[in-house]
Amino acid sequence: MTPTVLLPLRHYLNDGYGVKSWLLTRDHKRIALLYLAAVTFFFFVGGAFAVVIRLELATPAGDLVSDETYNKLFTMHGVMMVFFFLIPVIPSVLGNFLVPIMIGAKDLAFPKLNLFSWYIYMLGGLFTLYALVAGGVDTGWTFYAPFSTVSSTTNVIPTALGIFITGFSSILTGLNFIVTIHRMRAPGLTWFRLPLFIWSTYATSLINVLGTPVIAITVLLVAAERLFHFGFFDPTVGGDPVLFQHLFWFYSHPAVYIMVLPAMGVISELVAAGCRKPVFGYHFVAFASLAIAVLGFLVWGHHMFVAGESVYAAMIFSILSFLVAIPSAVKVFNWTATMYKGAVSWETPMLYAYGFIGLFTIGGLTGLFLATIAVDVHVTDTYFVIAHFHYIMVGGTIMGYLGGLHFWWPKISGRLYNEALAKVSAFIIFIGFNLTFFPQFVLGYLGMPRRYHAYPPDFQVLNVLSSAGASILGVGYLIPMVYLMWSLRYGPLAGANPWGAAGLEWTTTSPPPTENFAETPVVDSEPYQYPARVEEYFG
């Protein structure tokens, strides 16, 4: 009854074999897979540090590792996860794969630059791995001066250079996306006919281009101060360490929007496809992406409420931080409204989408608590902050990434993964995640400071819950590795559009041909055109 699904004869995966055809490729889809392999590697490196951290924190005494080693553990966990996983993952994997296809183009504007970006990412990663192997860094991923510039005896410079180099990968990818989206859309594809994933990717690219250069110069200043005894943040010559924090957070706050905006773009796509409805308030969601990108640059001082910035500056940053929550809330409302009276489905991508909406809301609301100066004075630098950002970055970004990976896996690989195993993993991840991080809100509120590996025995129960949750979460992340790899060889063939979803990517074969489309598509309708009557799409 169901027509036999065939693999296309020619597609991007069999268009050339051998290591050279991959390492010298200019095909954005192959480059996306190069990134996929790389970010997955760095994710597990960063995750390994998390395992040791949670193991240490299962007991109140700091007995598993020394103080110095613990400092290195949380530093390397942060550096790996932030700079080598969270910031690049969705733009470089899903973005690289999907942007040209979603706009009906043959490739990005600058394919060679795209490959170069991957090599730069790997080079930066190599520098940081060297620092790791050479004994690690102990400054915290935030590299605060003057510890990082004067007192730390660890491998600050290789790590700083690694971040500097990898930063260029973000900058060049962002540049590539901006030019591509402006100049290479298919005929008829006006801005307001673009999928919301493209809007989010565009907004993210703006942040990449505007913010990353500032951290680039900041880490260079840190390296120069260490290497040449230049005085920029050194109090002994009149420098101000808080200036480092201004420059650092000017990038690092928008960086968190680099991490979450692409995930929001994914969720828009998943919700539309999973509910067979256009996203409610498309224009509002599109503008909200831009608003998040712009407002995100105005709030960095909320990381410095107790660092010594002026009270008046603090108040301005606090108010602006409240404002930036509004476009995020608009998106959450609009996704929810999309689900209302939609043909809501329960496939794995949708499970991740629902998880995202709930967990991101919790993370976002707790961000408002932190934006309130009076509350922040008590919970800053405690586990409350850690729980807040993990809810957004893990409950948000990683859920969004996994949802997107599952949703587009059939397009990327031409195969279907095992849905039962995938659903089980999604549940394990959800439970493991909440068990790991919810107790941390309580711990932080009760006063447990971050970056300490010894704590009063009263906090042990909550810490043990958190560590137990982490082990469950770890299992949850490992299972998809297994069934996704398995599906590459043994999964059933997917066909062009297994989800029955709308979007240019579903009009081409799975996997797509190297040039993406047999003929350049012409767009003449709004996005997310689903039939009014709900159909059964799955046999």
Binding site: P111, A224, H229, F232, G238
Partner: protein, 225 residues
């Protein structure tokens, strides 16, 4: 069946056209926008140092003025004139490319590079002066006005960092011009395909603009004392 998507007859498929673009027009627009977006990143990159400069000049005006007086206004002024002239030769080079004047294009590119070289030469002389006067920050730093001994180090740290990174960008610019020179010489640049010259020019002018700000901010503080 069509051999590959968007197949064009040879006449519409000039050698310079990359496969992801439909025509040279789109390619030129994309490349130009790409260079402009890159320049945005450079504005923010140098901008971080300008902000650092603003914070510390506001905090230590006396030390900054004293430090500035130790720089050579004549050499700095000459360098400013050199760079402005190189921007002129660069703009004229683009004009030559647009009008198909290959000889002029080649000479103007050479002139631009030569002026860049002069700039770097003068900069090296200045750096040497700073070295022998012990104005390099760190343990070996010496300063005549003792009350500024600490804060003047911030001034000179900024001086070296800002002019150093600027010089590095200059060197990259000269390297870029070498490529352009090669393409101008071997006929790759035509009246149809001169975008690389234009785009390299954008980069070069940007580096000039950075110096337009660096010169007064570093060399011309406290001169009226």
């Amino acid at each position: 069946m069509a051999d590959h998507a968007g197949a064009h007859p040879a006449a519409e498929h000039p050698a310079a056209l990359a496969h992801q673009f439909d025509d040279l027009e789109q390619q030129k627009e994309a490349s130009t926008l790409g260079m402009w977006v890159f320049l945005v990143t450079e504005v923010l990159f140098f901008g971080g140092m300008f902000v650092t400069y603003a914070v510390y000049r506001n905090a230590y005006p006396g030390a900054f003025a004293a430090g500035s007086r130790e720089l050579d206004v004549m050499l700095g002024g000459i360098n400013t004139a050199v760079l402005i002239t190189s921007s002129l030769t660069m703009a004229l080079a683009v004009h030559a490319a647009q009008t198909g004047n290959r000889r002029a294009l080649v000479w103007l590119l050479v002139a631009t590079m030569a002026l860049g070289g002069v700039f770097l030469g003068i900069k090296s002389v200045e750096y040497y002066h700073k070295l022998v006067e012990h104005h390099i920050p760190g343990p070996g730093f010496r300063f005549a006005e003792a009350e500024y001994l600490k804060h003047a180090q911030i001034f000179f740290s900024l001086y070296f960092m800002m002019t150093g990174l600027h010089a590095l960008h200059m060197i990259i610019g000269i390297g870029l011009m070498l490529f352009m020179l090669r393409w101008a010489w071997n006929g790759t640049i035509t009246t149809e395909y001169y975008a690389p010259i234009e785009i390299s020019g954008l980069y070069w002018h940007f580096v000039d603009i950075v110096w337009i700000f660096l010169f007064p901010l570093l060399y011309l503080i406290g001169r009226h004392v």
